[in-house]
Symmetry: C2
Subunit: 219 residues, 2 copies
């Protein structure tokens, strides 16, 4: 009986290889799916924090053998960074994507903050944001993580600034950057409030206020 393999060996789950003619690698095949494993790792870190997440628990939930974890990611730090990247691809990416531009600035910002609130409150076991609530803590004592946080933060601010620029907000670039930074700060503040147990209904008024402030600025 011939078995069709789902994935080909590749570091990430980036692009699925065609299912046919896949040259199966040499040794024993993996018993775990990288994407599922990273999903699970994201979940554990998101819930327990970096130092609170033990390798034991990570191995159990990712269904990854200890040896494979160290082989693939070099250790806990590497797995965490991989989980962050996976989180950005699968969770934060779509949120940023909702900025469009697809509609008016007001519509797009509303969609964006809506997505922020939803992400932060969707699962009560993982409130808030992996980056704003977990990576931010360990950034205090770990230079690698601090740099990672800086990069991730900059990416969102650039994305927002780009959307503002599309509508010609902020004649002076300085104002535009400041406004984008402020909107990003609000998004992160919403994530933090969600971490304290705030519901979607609690956060919606804040999101609305943010949108009103932004478009008032554009006029």
């Amino acid at each position: 009986m011939t078995v069709i393999f789902e994935t080909i060996r590749s570091k990430k789950g980036e692009t699925m290889q065609p299912l046919t003619n896949a040259p199966r690698p040499r040794g024993r095949p993996r018993g775990f799916k990288i994407d599922q494993a990273l999903d699970a790792a994201v979940h554990v870190f998101w819930q327990e924090g970096y130092n609170g997440a033990s390798i034991d628990r990570l191995c159990r939930e990712t269904e990854m053998p200890r040896a494979s974890l160290y082989q693939e990611y070099g250790g806990k730090e590497g797995l965490f960074l991989a989980a962050i990247a996976h989180y950005v691809e699968t969770r934060l990416g779509p949120v940023a994507q909702s900025l469009g531009p697809v509609g008016t600035l007001e519509e797009d910002l509303t969609a964006f903050f809506e997505a922020v609130v939803t992400l932060a409150t969707l699962d009560s076991r993982t409130p808030g944001c992996l980056i704003s609530c977990v990576l931010a803590e360990v950034a205090g004592a770990n230079g690698t993580f601090r740099q990672e946080l800086k990069t991730r933060f900059a990416a969102l601010e650039d994305r927002i600034a780009q959307r503002l620029e599309h509508d010609g907000i902020g004649v002076e670039p300085k104002d535009q950057t400041a406004l984008a930074g402020m909107l990003a700060a609000i998004a992160r503040g919403i994530m933090l409030r969600a971490r304290s147990g705030a519901s979607s209904a609690d956060l919606h008024p804040i999101a609305e206020a943010a949108v009103q402030c932004a478009i008032a600025r554009g006029r």
Copy 2:
């Protein structure tokens, strides 16, 4: 030789007792100062995070004997909560106090956000905010800490709402609450950006934008 004692036995360093006539307690006197110890504990937790701060290090930096730490605070969790309270009294309190009212709303909000930026960037070893960056992380897995976070967050929002009310901002209470929530979110977003290494100069434009948004709303 008669020695004048600095402090009287009391759980906190709330109010210094008069230096005379202090009935010295029975046994061996303490070899550490509670206020200094809490300052040190705040520093360690702020830098290393909750799980990253070991009892060993906490004892060393607070100059508190292990036994005294457990006697006084019951354990790491109790010490952390005491450190949070001390942080609120000594650090966050003055920041909230700068809201006044002492000047115009614009002046007071400017002073407030100025104080936020300063607190978050003053010491590069402790960037950000103990509550927004450290307590928020452990709130994910610990119900006690989540409740504490909720309470501390609510306190700041109430304080901001109170200041807005003083100027008659937000005819509808709903708008006022939302605006206060948004301003608090910005303050926390600023704390987070500081955690990534942002300087005071990086954060000032965001603070200014926040003030402009708020007073534009009031008009």
